[in-house]
Structure formats: structure tokens, C-alpha cells
Amino acid sequence: MAAISVNKISKSYRNIRALQEISFEVKPGELFGIIGPDGAGKTTLFRILTTLMVPEEGTATVNGLDVVTDYKEIRKQVGYMPGRFSLYQDMTVEENLSFFATLFGTTVRENYDLVKDIYQPLEKFKTRRAGKLSGGMKQKLALSCALIHKPSVLFLDEPTTGVDPVSRKDFWEMLRRLKKQGITIVVSTPYMDEAVLCDRIGLIREGEFMRIATPQEIIGSYQEILWAVRSSKMSALLAELRTFEGIKSCFSFGDTLHITVSNEQLLPATLKSILENNGHTDVDVYPIQATIEDCYMLLAK
């Protein structure tokens, strides 16, 4: 049985379609990523799955329970961490954790093993007010609070937004450890580089999934000819490649430009010499493997 099963769910706000006939399944123990920018409908989807909202059309089940009719039972079995770390800012770290434990009719001691890893770095600040913690710390505390009742499914809505790369990396390591304990995790993120850390991902855009597969499958099905180009004058290079015959698209990617080539006769060495003739120095052109971000941009077209 799937841990989560969503069947043609739609939801609108006034006249804006937030979700359009979304369907997907998440297997038990899977780490499923919903990848897309702000406003793509990620939060709405989470709210429906955590029974905070009722879909207009379609059905969804969590642990086999219907999100509309069995919502009371679902609420006992899931953990949810909303986008803005929902903590009581004027309660201490310790008070927050025990408050959430009490809320679910359990105690911190009972399930401490599960959150130990995550909570430990916070122990020394346990008398500090949650509002005074840094972003990374708040994130850890919010995760501990969402886990304290030992949920079988964990929903994390943009847990890494606005958090620095180091804390983000830590966070994903925590998620992998949680996954080993058999918890099903659904996580959303606008950071495309985090996609490869998931077992399977759904690329979401304007309320619709463009593709649901493993990151490797998505990358593997990328059909375009993709090259990285670099020179000493990047902005001039960008302008030039944008108008270059036989190049479909050109975007900056870190210290290189990624181009998709439509002219199959063109070779990297040829392009390199053309660019050098046009006055570019330190030119580098080489084929590369696509990233999830390349795939997203291609699918979004």
C-alpha cells in the first residue's frame, strides 16, 4: 500500500488555480521531493495532505486514510513542519519541545531517541527563547517538534528556504538518517540542487507536475545536446550565444553558461574557435551532463 496516494486533486483560490489535477504516489519509507519555485502550489498541496484544507476535486489518502473523511486519524499519524517555522517565539527551546509532545499526548522522554540527533546541538540553548535562535537552529527545533510524536509520515514544507548552504547540507543529512528509521518523508524545496538528495521527485510548476520520477531518470531522459561554455568575458559571451545560429537556449550556471545546441553538425571545438575569432579569450567549450535545474528549465518551456 502506498503511504500517500493522490488522485486528480484540484484547488483554487478565488479565480486562481493553485493545483490542477495533481496525481502521485509515495511509497512507505520513501523520501519524496516536490521541487518548484514559490507560488507553484507546493504549500497548498501540503495543506491538503495534512488535512488543513479540503480539495475541490479529487481524492487523496495518507496511510490509506482519506484526507477529508478520516482527517482526525491522519492528524495523529503525521508530522508537519510548515514553511515559516511555526514555533512559539516567546517560549524557550525546551518548552516548545515539551509543548508539542504534550499536544500529541506523549512525552519528550518517550520519543527522545528519534529526535536526539537533531535536538542535541540545541541542548545547550534549551533555556533560550525560540524567537532568538538563528535560522538553522529554528529549523532544527521545528523539525524536532514535528517529530516528537513519532509520526509515520513527515511533511516538510520548504524547510531549507532562507537557510545557508551549510545548515541546508546538515538538514539533508538529518533527513537521510530519519529515512533509515522508516519514516516516509515528503519535502518541498525551491532549491533545485537539493533534488538529487531525494529518492523520487516531482517537478511542479503553476499547479501541475511536469514530471515525477527519480532524479536519475529525469536527468537520463534529458535529450538535448548540452554544453558548458566559459570565457573571460561572461556577459559578452552570454549576449553573443543568445543570438548564435544553432543554439536554442543559453543560461548562466555558476561560472559557466549552459547552452543547448540544435545544430547537430556543430562541434565544441568549432564553437570554441568561432568564439576565439570573435575576440574571446580563455574559451572553454565541453559537453556536460544535465542537472535537475537544466531539466526543469527545459520542461518549463
Binding site: 495543506r47 479540503v54 482527517y71 492528524r75 503525521v78 508537519y80 512559539y88 517538534c145
Partner: protein, 347 residues
């Protein structure tokens, strides 16, 4: 927007009509044992005056007191026996004016009206008779012989404070959770929405009870307001009123989504009518009929009446039965509606 443009209109109308210091439709009861020409003329003069409503005749002192206590009359006029004879022969006659002193403003106005009419009559009488005569009104204030204003404002302040603490604070504390997002987590937890509501109300209920104690202690020992009635009854009624106020706060929190809105709604929409229409400052009896009806909707009005009756006038449960029933039904209705409206989902 509605608040910005609507409020001035409501306030102007409220102040313009409610806030008149004139007292109208005064209910007058008369005990007239002499029943002679002079007393009949005085009564006729009083009746001719637009401020007074129809006169109610009583025949014994007990009846007069009863009319007053049952709140059927605002003022009781008692002529002395052989009024005209005394006036003609001794040149002086006396009238006793019995008024309710708990509302000093109203009391002064009433006495003023009656004295005015008496003076006019006295002048007329003197002219026709060419002798110097004098009608002496003896004013007797019930409940508040020194016309202390504390007698009036203590019940009012109690109504106001409980409204403020309970309605405003409950609504703000719930709405704050909506704003910070903690409400989302609370809702997703298996805890019943009823518990959330309950958990939000209990602290403010306790807080209000503490406030009740302080207010009562201060009023009795510092301001010298008497505690004439049953303390237990007063406390019970206050708790009932606190419950009504809490329910209103809860209702507000289910409607609005931001703390600012909660503040505005509870502040502007609740406080002002409470101040203006509860009879705390302006006498309800002298308001236009429409506003009088509107005042029936204000829980604080009923509460203030109860406090006056129990605390100052020392009346028992039977005297406030009517008000208690109204407050009770308000509490039940408001609680039911707001708990129904309290969603266990977003939107």
C-alpha cells in the same frame, strides 16, 4: 475600509442621539393623600411637560416604594397631607421627591425638572393669592445619599474591563497564532479544536476573576461603594458576563485573520457601543427608541443593571432574574456559534 468610513458615521449618530443630557419619558409616580386643587394643578403641570411620561397614581407609601423598587417609576412624588391648606394657611407645604441615587447625573436632572415646575407653580399661586407662599421639596435619594459618582461608574467600569480583557485578549491571542503559523501545527495535531478554544479561554477567565476581586476590593474599601447585596450572587453574575465576553472574543477570532483586525474589531466595534449604549454614561431611557432597542443587544448593559441592583441596591436574585436569563442565553448562543465557526481547517 468599512471600518474607516463606517465608524465616523456610526459614532456621529450614536453621540448625536444617545449622548443627550436631557432626560425624557420620565416615569413619575404620585402619592397624593391630600388630593386637593393645588396638588391636582401641580400634577397637571408636570404632565403637561414633555419630559414626563404618563403619571402613575399610588395610594400608600408601601405601594410607592414598590413601584420604585420594581423599576416602574423613576421618581416618586409624595405630597404631604392637607397640602393646599398648609400652603394657604402657613404659607409653606412640602413635597418629598424620592429618586434613585445610583446614577447621580440622572438624579440631578430629575430633581431639577421637578423643582423647576414647582417653582413656576409656586409663583403662579403667589400671584393669584397675593401672599408669599413656599413649596419645599424634600429630596430623598435612595441607595446613594451623597450622590457619589463611584456608585455609577464602578458597575460601568466592571462591564468595560471584562469586555476589554476577555473579548480583546482572547481574540488577539488566537489570531496571533494564525499569524505566526503555530495554529497550523495545532490544527494538524490530534488535539480537538474544542480544547484549543478552551485552553485559550481559561487563562483569561482566571485573569478576569482576579480583576473582579481587585475591583470589588477597591470599590468597597477605597471608593466606599457599599456591598449591599449578596456577594456570591454578584460573583456568579460577573462570571456569567465574563463568559459572554470570552465568547465574543472567540467569535471575533474566527472572523478576522490579523491581530490588527482583531484589535480594531474588538476595540472599535465592541468598546464604543459598550461605553455609549450600556447606560454607563448616558441614560438609556432618554435615548431614541431605536437606540434603546440597540442597547438591548449589548451584554454589558444587562450586566451593569445587575451590578447596580445587587451591589448597590442590595436586591436579591429575583430582582435580576430577567437580566441573568438574558445574559445566560447570550452566553450559550455566542459560545455555540463561535465554536461552530471555529474551523479545524484553514479557509
Amino acid at each position: 475600509m468599512l471600518i474607516l468610513f463606517g465608524m465616523p458615521i456610526v459614532q456621529i449618530i450614536l453621540f448625536g442621539f444617545a449622548v443627550t443630557t436631557e432626560v425624557q419619558n420620565i416615569r413619575l409616580a404620585v402619592l397624593d393623600p391630600s388630593n386637593d386643587q393645588a396638588t391636582t394643578e401641580i400634577i397637571r403641570e408636570l404632565q403637561a411637560n414633555t419630559y414626563f411620561g404618563p403619571v402613575m397614581y399610588v395610594h400608600t407609601t408601601e405601594e410607592a416604594n414598590k413601584a420604585f423598587l420594581k423599576n416602574k417609576a423613576d421618581i416618586v412624588l409624595t405630597f404631604e397631607e392637607n397640602f393646599q391648606e398648609n400652603l394657604l394657611h402657613t404659607g409653606t407645604a412640602s413635597i418629598q421627591l424620592l429618586v434613585d441615587g445610583t446614577d447621580p447625573n440622572m438624579c440631578k436632572i430629575l430633581v431639577g425638572y421637578v423643582s423647576n415646575i414647582l417653582t413656576t407653580y409656586q409663583q403662579k399661586f403667589s400671584v393669584s393669592d397675593r401672599t408669599k407662599t413656599q413649596i419645599i421639596p424634600h429630596v430623598k435619594m435612595l441607595y446613594n445619599p451623597q450622590t457619589k459618582s463611584a456608585y455609577n461608574f464602578v458597575p460601568g467600569v466592571m462591564g468595560l474591563i471584562f469586555m476589554l480583557i476577555c473579548a480583546m485578549m482572547t481574540s488577539i491571542s488566537i489570531v496571533r497564532e494564525k499569524e505566526t503559523g503555530t495554529m497550523e501545527v495545532l490544527l494538524v495535531s490530534p488535539i480537538k479544536p474544542l480544547y484549543i478554544v478552551f485552553a485559550k479561554m481559561v487563562p483569561y477567565f482566571v485573569l478576569s476573576c482576579v480583576n473582579l476581586t481587585t475591583i470589588l476590593l477597591l470599590s468597597v474599601y477605597v471608593l466606599g461603594v457599599p456591598m449591599s447585596g449578596n456577594l456570591g450572587l454578584l460573583v456568579a453574575i460577573s462570571m456569567l458576563f465574563i463568559l459572554v465576553a470570552l465568547a465574543i472574543g472567540l467569535l471575533i477570532s474566527t472572523i478576522v485573520d490579523t491581530q490588527v483586525a482583531a484589535m480594531l474589531v474588538s476595540g472599535m466595534i465592541l468598546m464604543l457601543p459598550v461605553i455609549l449604549l450600556s447606560g454607563m454614561i448616558y441614560t438609556i431611557e432618554s435615548m431614541p427608541v431605536l437606540l434603546q432597542y440597540a442597547s438591548h443587544m449589548i451584554p454589558a448593559k444587562w450586566y451593569i443593571v445587575c451590578v447596580k441592583k445587587v451591589m448597590i441596591e442590595g436586591l436579591g436574585f429575583s430582582a435580576v432574574f430577567h437580566e441573568v436569563i438574558i445574559l445566560f442565553s447570550m452566553a450559550v448562543a455566542l459560545l455555540t456559534v463561535s465554536i461552530k465557526l471555529f474551523k479545524d481547517r484553514l479557509q
